[in-house]
């Protein structure tokens, strides 16, 4: 699908498939098109090019039905500060067709997110964390099948962020489908069933974290360091080493982690004084930067992060 605002192309041939009952994380920098994608999914904005089907329906034509089955938490909690927490939830309950007597449902949702004690307070007096919890409670009040979270931890302290991410993880256990936008890679780690990396309104790559990692790093990544790092260059010629690169540390890809003890023994035997040997599982952060770097035609897929990114991606990197 495609969507422009004036001359600005917000979505450009974005191809997105979200399997039911999974958590899909849209990763991308500011302006990548994540928020616009969510807006097009619910029909809040129309797709100017392409087609969109949500639950098999066209959000543009069947917007009411689609939106009734979606729950959205936007980057800003979008709450009415002058109203109490209860009244905010009651407003949503009425708009989503739960009627004016949804008290039990409201208290149940509030209790799930730990804000039942603050329901009578004006939302203007809530902390940012409480507002996010209220927004989450509001999003699940009508028991939607598809939950769309746009940077739900924006502005939260680490502890609250962690709690919110746990709650999001819990939501999929009851069968809901989740699409979450974030530019914080750590948030997606361990949460995502599918990752879609966006940039410039286009999906650069999508798949499960394991699949994507395997595409970029087919071998096991191991970091090495030594008193004399130059002597680590011998690793490049070692059997089983798929790739080698030395920056701050030397990073290799091994076809089999079982070769590592022999490798270490060989280096030590050759008099190399090792100071670090660390098998490393590439993170989403590594993946993210590798994908973006590859997309920009960069030879060096590294540039950032936790060291493993120092490894030049093998042939698949340009995928």
């Amino acid at each position: 699908m495609g969507r422009s605002f004036g001359d600005v192309r917000a979505l450009d041939e974005l191809d997105l498939v979200v399997p039911a009952g999974t958590i899909t994380v849209l990763l991308g920098p500011n302006g990548a098109g994540k928020t616009t994608a969510i807006r097009v999914i619910t029909g809040a904005l129309d797709a100017q090019q392409g087609t969109v089907a949500v639950f098999g329906l066209d959000p543009d034509g069947d917007g009411e039905e689609v939106r009734r089955r979606c729950g959205v938490v936007s980057a800003k909690p979008a709450l009415y500060d002058r109203l109490s927490g209860y009244d905010n939830l009651a407003y949503s309950a009425e708009l989503y067709g739960l009627g004016r007597h949804a008290g039990d449902r409201i208290r149940e949702a509030a209790s799930r997110f730990g804000i039942e004690g603050a329901l009578d307070q004006q939302v203007g007096g809530y902390s940012t964390g409480m507002k996010t919890r209220l927004a989450l409670a509001r999003s699940v009040l009508h028991r939607p099948e598809l939950l769309l979270f746009d940077e739900p931890t924006s502005g939260l302290d680490p502890e609250s962020s962690h709690a919110v991410l746990d709650l999001i993880g819990e939501m999929t256990r009851d069968g809901s489908t989740v699409v979450m936008c974030t530019h914080l890679l750590l948030e997606a780690e361990g949460l995502a069933d599918q990752v879609v990396v966006l940039d410039g309104g286009t999906d650069l790559i999508s798949g499960t974290p394991d699949d994507l990692t395997a595409r970029y790093w087919p071998g096991t990544v191991v970091r090495f360091d030594a008193e004399d790092p130059a002597r680590l260059d011998a690793l490049a010629a070692h059997e089983g080493v798929l790739a080698y690169e030395r920056g701050d540390v030397a990073v290799i890809q091994l076809d089999d982690l079982g070769r590592l003890p022999d490798l270490v023994a060989e280096l030590v035997g050759a008099g190399v004084r090792l100071t670090r040997v660390e098998p490393h599982r590439p993170t989403l952060e590594d993946l993210y930067f590798a994908v973006r770097a590859a997309h920009r035609g960069s030879v060096d897929a590294h540039a950032h992060g936790a060291g493993a990114g120092a490894l030049r991606a093998p042939g698949g990197a340009a995928a």
Binding site: L45, R82, E94, L95
Partner: protein, 274 residues
């Protein structure tokens, strides 16, 4: 259209307004000044203090009224006639100015306010149709001004009947023309103004801009309403009904066009020109 959702939007907006003491307190003061304070002071000055010179000047001024209006003036004494004329004719425009002022202030912020607070995002993703949102907000903007006017009108009736009644042989207010004005003329003028104000509110960048622009739009309308309501009370018996009918037609057109002003893109603040 889902009527329940329309009422939900209206009720929620009104609930927020009730919570906003910084808004409704000045609104009550405005109503109090126009409907109670000014009439009480003026009418008491005439009937109780009995300033002969003022009464004479007023009586002379009444000569400029149309013959039909002069015939309608009750009272045996000059004081009574002057007080009657003041009660019935002078304050008529107030009944238009107060609701227009209040409703314009509410309406100007209603859509752009959702955008500024970020709650437009919530509405845009909700199942509510934009027409339902528009009508809900229209009701929420219209009611505060109109209710203030009706309540103020009731208090005003009490004030003038209590002060002037003894001078003109009993309770005399509201007159037929006032009933028509309140029930037939004021509502469409209010709706017409709000249809323009809501369109502005949907299009501008900020509440401050909406209020500035609303002032520009509603001021001429207030003046038209002022002159028409005054003229209607002064003029022939059916003039008020005719003016009201024209205003209803214009209001209908304005509201129909206004419905298209609210879009989800505008609630989100991403429409062209915002």
């Amino acid at each position: 259209m889902n009527r329940s959702r329309v009422l939900t939007v209206a009720r929620t907006d009104l609930r927020q307004l009730v919570q906003a003491r910084d808004f409704w307190l000045p609104m009550m003061i405005l109503g109090g000044i126009f409907f109670v304070f000014v009439p009480t002071v003026l009418l008491l000055s005439i009937t109780r203090i009995g300033d002969v010179q003022v009464v004479q000047q007023l009586s002379t001024a009444l000569d400029v009224l149309p013959a039909r209006a002069q015939e309608a003036i009750q009272g045996e004494t000059e004081t009574g006639r002057a007080a009657y004329a003041l009660s019935v004719f002078l304050f008529a425009p107030v009944a238009v100015v107060v609701p227009l002022t209040i409703s314009t202030a509410v309406g100007a912020a209603t859509i752009v306010g959702e955008r500024e607070r970020g709650t437009g995002e919530f509405l845009a993703h909700s199942p509510a149709d934009v027409t339902e949102i528009y009508i809900g907000k229209l009701i929420a903007s219209l009611l505060p001004g109109y209710v203030t006017t009706v309540v103020g009108f009731g208090i005003y009736s009490l004030v003038v009947n209590t002060i002037v009644g003894p001078e003109v042989g009993g309770w005399f207010f509201p007159t037929r023309e006032w009933w028509v004005l309140m029930l037939w003329v004021v509502p469409p003028f209010l709706a017409l103004t709000l249809s323009l104000v809501l369109r502005l509110s949907a299009r501008v960048k900020s509440t401050a801009a909406a209020q500035q622009a609303s002032g520009l739009v509603s001021l001429p309308l207030i003046m038209v309403a002022y002159s028409q309501s005054t003229g209607a009370l002064f003029g022939a018996g059916n003039a008020t009904v005719v003016i009201g009918t024209i205003a209803w037609v214009l209001a209908g057109l304005g509201l129909w066009r206004g419905m298209r002003a609210v879009t989800r893109a505008r609630l989100l603040g991403v429409a062209d020109g915002i």
